[in-house]
Amino acid sequence: MKQEKKITMAHGSGGRATSDLIREIFAREFTNPVLDAMEDAAVVPGSGKIAFTTDSFVVEPLEFPGGDIGRLSVCGTVNDLLMRGAVPKYLTCGFVLQEGLDLELLQRIVASLAATAREAGVAVVAGDTKVVEGNGGLIINTAGVGFVPENVCISAANCQVGDVILVSGHLGDHHAAILSRRMGIYNTIESDCAPLGEMVGALLEAGIRVHCLRDITRGGLGTVLKELAEASQVTMAIEEEFLPIDAQVRDFCGLMGLDPLYMGNEGKLVAFVAPEDADRACEILSGCVYGKHAAVIGTVTDEEPGSAYVNTAIGGKRVLDVLFGEGLPRIC
């Protein structure tokens, strides 16, 4: 079969080019019995408490150190399911391809998406492709379904006074990696883009009393803590000295006038656990592939419901709010 090197409008026509594209690239990578049946809708087994979420992914560049938009679009959705204590099972993928998108690049991204789905233990059971005018870009939407075990109650509104706050590793890696490429700064920072199933599974299996989980994405840890403080009507008190930040990311932020507390990750979580379980939880997280630099960073108090603050290294107190604006580099 002869295939064009770039996506053209013909790939979205619904005709021969479309079916070739689906067969050659998508079906081959995502193959599983449900998808291979090529029915109008996937029919899958499952019952009980269902967790269901969706997210759309836009990133420039499409491939970046540590990941690509394909891996990202699995991690983002799977991690959202995990943060409710769900076991992720099924994924749907919608691809919006811009005219001019390089087919080899698409192939790599789809392969990466499929590999990440296998790693995360989810099957891609339905998909869709559209072609729009443009200049070689790609947007992916994924929706995910998972099942929540009966005894699990993990929610943003469930942080308890006295809980210990943990993060699963270095802050800001994803945002720093993306921005480094865009601003032309050379470094070896890689996106931390990863599925968090191993960590969440290990915590729950060990019987850690987890009250709340949240993946640290856009807006960074600062935004997450403020949002959760409001949702749970508690105070988040963290220690600057305990924050795990890679030296390279810290200096990159220094160069760009940015703050690691407001830099996004794509493979880190913050966990709120009962104080008696905190040390064990930290050990468990540290033993996971994506949790090497996990750390206890603070506690939940009842000082001022809805607020979050950092005790600074020099002994000051800094109030945290959600990120305003976009976290653009500043020079002057």
Binding site: I185, Y186, I331
Partner: protein, 70 residues
Amino acid sequence: MCVAMPGKVIEIYEKDALVDFSGNRVRAIAGLVPIAVGDYVLVHAGCILQKLSAGEAQDLMDLFEELEEA
């Protein structure tokens, strides 16, 4: 107002120099101040503005002492 950071000079070229900030490498314009490989320099918006003096910690300590005497 002016974001600037100290970094270490790694290599010197004709008009600029490679400056390292804990692994972040920037080609910064040189020429406004004499530099050598290994020097610590202040970089602002891609330009080397100053060379850092050695013994920074001692400087800070001296300043504390002075203030106490005053």
